[in-house]
């Protein structure tokens, strides 16, 4: 337990355990100083998470409620961002669309990092044949353009929210595995691993207790750097009609639905969902860059 010393008024040195809150606040403050853009991006993402959580309270209309009396209306005071060809409120659909975007991108990134961590640690620690075979398997996965691989998996597994997470996650596994593997290859030669082995620790225990913790920081960076790509992938797949099945609103499928209607769509149906995607991808990218600078100042971008 980390503790700080306080000198009381009478000069006695008191020790009290530092509270979690103070520690977190310190980290946040340092992050904001080192990566101000990343901090702004983090605030944006937090606000987006709140919007997604409280979507039913925030959205002015039901996102899937059609209203044939008010189809394709330009932005007005009743419908701030207009309505689509079925009279559904665009603002409400964007607010609810944040749920799909965040859920799918976060879950797929976590899945990719979890698989990559296990795969990378086992492959690098086992070495020899196991490592060689797993490297060849990774090469196969990396031979697909990510979006094409995700499309193939969507066709194979059928459409739906869980399969979307799996498809996007698997397309990101190679990067996470490669980075874990390279970290483990250097870590396993270090003295503390040798010491643990001399102490009689089993391979499983060394992998779990000594090697894996060293991979946490790099994986955190991989996860945030991949977040932008995952948001983009979800949008692109939904745009192509192989993402979340309708009527669940998603930013990508809003754009795709417009395309299916006509090639000269109303501007508000094109502009607003696209802005939502672009600003979220940008926030995720900036946060990822900031976190990388923060955790590994050596590779800091100038």
């Amino acid at each position: 337990m980390v503790s700080v010393r306080n000198i009381a008024s009478d000069g006695a040195i008191q020790t009290r355990p530092e509270r979690w809150g103070t520690k977190v606040r310190g980290i946040v403050r340092r992050f904001a100083r080192m990566a101000p853009l990343g901090a702004i991006a983090a605030v944006f993402l937090l606000v987006l998470i709140l919007i997604a959580l409280f979507a039913p309270q925030l959205a002015p209309y039901d996102p899937i409620q059609t209203d044939y009396a008010a189809t394709q209306q330009a932005p007005t005071r009743q419908h701030l961002l207009g309505t689509d060809h079925l009279g559904r409120d665009v603002l409400s659909r964007i607010i609810f669309g944040a749920r799909v975007t965040l859920l799918v991108s976060l879950a797929s990134v976590v899945l990719a990092v979890a698989i990559g961590l296990i795969w990378g640690v086992v492959s690098a620690y086992a070495g020899n044949r196991v490592d060689m075979i797993s490297q060849r398997m990774l090469e196969v996965l990396m031979s697909f353009p990510a979006l094409i691989l995700a499309m193939l998996l969507m066709v194979s597994l059928g459409s739906g929210l869980p399969t979307l997470v799996i498809a996007i996650g698997i397309a990101q596994v190679p990067l996470a595995t490669r980075i874990t593997r390279s970290v483990v290859l250097t870590v396993k030669e270090r003295a503390f691993v040798e010491a643990a082995r001399c102490g009689g620790a089993t391979s499983g225990r060394i992998m779990l207790r000594h090697v894996t913790p060293q991979c946490v920081a790099p994986m955190l960076v991989v996860a945030t750097v991949n977040l932008g790509a995952a948001i983009f992938a979800e949008a692109a797949l939904s745009f192509l009609g192989v993402g979340v099945p309708p009527p669940t609103p998603s930013w990508g499928s809003m754009l795709g639905g417009v395309l299916a209607q006509s090639f000269n769509p109303p501007w508000w149906l094109v502009l607003f969902p696209g802005l939502a995607i672009a600003s979220t991808v940008m926030a995720a990218n900036l946060f990822g860059d900031g976190l990388r600078d923060f955790l590994d100042p050596r590779v800091r971008q100038r």
């Binding site: 060849r136 398997m137 090469e139 196969v140 996965l141 031979s143 697909f144 353009p145 990510a146 979006l147 094409i148 499309m151 193939l152 998996l153 066709v155 194979s156 597994l157 059928g158 932008g228 983009f232 949008a235 692109a236 745009f239 192509l240 009609g241 192989v242 754009l255 795709g256 417009v258 395309l259 090639f263 000269n264 769509p265 501007w267 094109v270 502009l271 696209g274 995607i277 672009a278 600003s279 991808v281 940008m282 990218n285 900036l286 971008q301 100038r302």
Partner: protein, 311 residues
């Protein structure tokens, strides 16, 4: 070079598992998804199964597919009965043109912006370039494509032609098809390349040999070309190779946004129709092209960097 062949076999096995083994019967997939109105009677199904060779064991089906691909025969579309080879030959050139043009655009924009940004570090130009890079890295190419179509329809009452026109038939019409998607994809790739060029150039500018060259009094072209430019290029080419994977995926969405009749829109169409013969061959084609590009990138190292030789 030979390493590519086992990888390609692995790729084909993965596609085969994804398309045939996991969904079970590909014919069942057609009716089940509710995507098509076609309902096959059990006799029709049996006949179709026989003609497609689906009554044979899985390993025979796989070997048959590989044998066909090896002969350059990709089978027939399940729906139109048209040879898939013909479709690929007709639409492939359009997608290839878009991808090549996008890479050219991204290099012409990305490399100069990245280099200038590094050489004039912390000037107004540098700041503007960095804002632009951040912006265009986040804008999805298919959205940019939709905006380009929207603006051109509204402002110029013009929209890209929908029919397939090859470059050797009517170059002017072909250019109208290709230019939009190429720009939409090229700008995004340019941002990635500019970012990579900038950070590499900054590293190179901090190297000892650059300081030595400057101390010797070298300036201008004599200093820049051999010392900075060549050494910046190598990592940038690597990035391009990786980024082309994103580009190939991006062509699918961007072609759809423009309504361009390329391979990407063919893939989307065949997914919507559950045309699994078409899907498995197209995905294999995309992966093969990606593998070939990465090989070319590896070879181009040796041509640019004399320190690298293939043993």
């Amino acid at each position: 070079m030979l390493v590519a062949i086992p990888t390609l076999i692995g790729v084909s096995i993965l596609i085969f598992i994804a398309m045939r083994v996991i969904p079970g019967d590909p014919l069942a997939m057609i009716g089940a998804q509710g995507q098509s109105t076609l309902v096959l009677s059990s006799e029709e199904k049996a006949a179709a199964r026989k003609s497609l060779g689906l009554d044979k064991p899985l390993y025979r089906q796989y070997l048959n597919w590989m044998g066909d691909v090896g002969r350059g025969d990709f089978g027939h579309s399940f729906w139109s009965q048209e040879p898939i080879r013909k479709q690929i030959l007709r639409r492939g050139p359009i997608t290839a043109e878009i991808a090549i043009l996008a890479v050219v655009i991204s290099w012409l924009m990305g490399v100069p912006v990245g280099l200038l940004s590094a050489l004039r570090r912390n000037t107004v130009f540098d700041h503007m370039a960095r804002v632009g890079i951040t912006l265009f890295m986040a804008i999805p190419s298919f959205w940019l494509g939709m905006i380009i179509v929207l603006v051109s329809v509204r402002a110029f009452v013009w929209r890209p032609p929908l029919a397939i026109t090859q470059i050797w038939e009517q170059p002017a019409v072909n250019a109208q098809i290709v230019i939009g998607p190429a720009v939409a994809l090229g700008v995004g790739l340019a941002a990635v390349i500019a970012r990579m060029t900038r950070s590499t150039a900054l590293d190179v500018l901090g190297e000892d040999y650059v300081r030595t060259a400057r101390a010797k009094g070298l300036g201008g072209r004599k200093f820049f070309l051999p010392h900075v430019f060549r050494n910046t290029l190598l990592p940038v080419i690597t990035t391009s190779g990786v980024a082309i994977g994103g580009l190939l995926g991006g062509t699918v969405a961007t072609e759809t946004a423009f309504g361009v009749p390329g391979l990407g829109s063919l893939l989307v169409q065949s997914i919507n129709q559950r045309d699994w013969v078409m899907i498995q061959n197209l995905v294999l084609l995309y992966a093969a092209i990606f593998i070939a590009i990465n090989l070319l990138v590896d070879i181009s190292y040796a041509l640019i960097d004399p320190r690298i030789r293939f043993g």
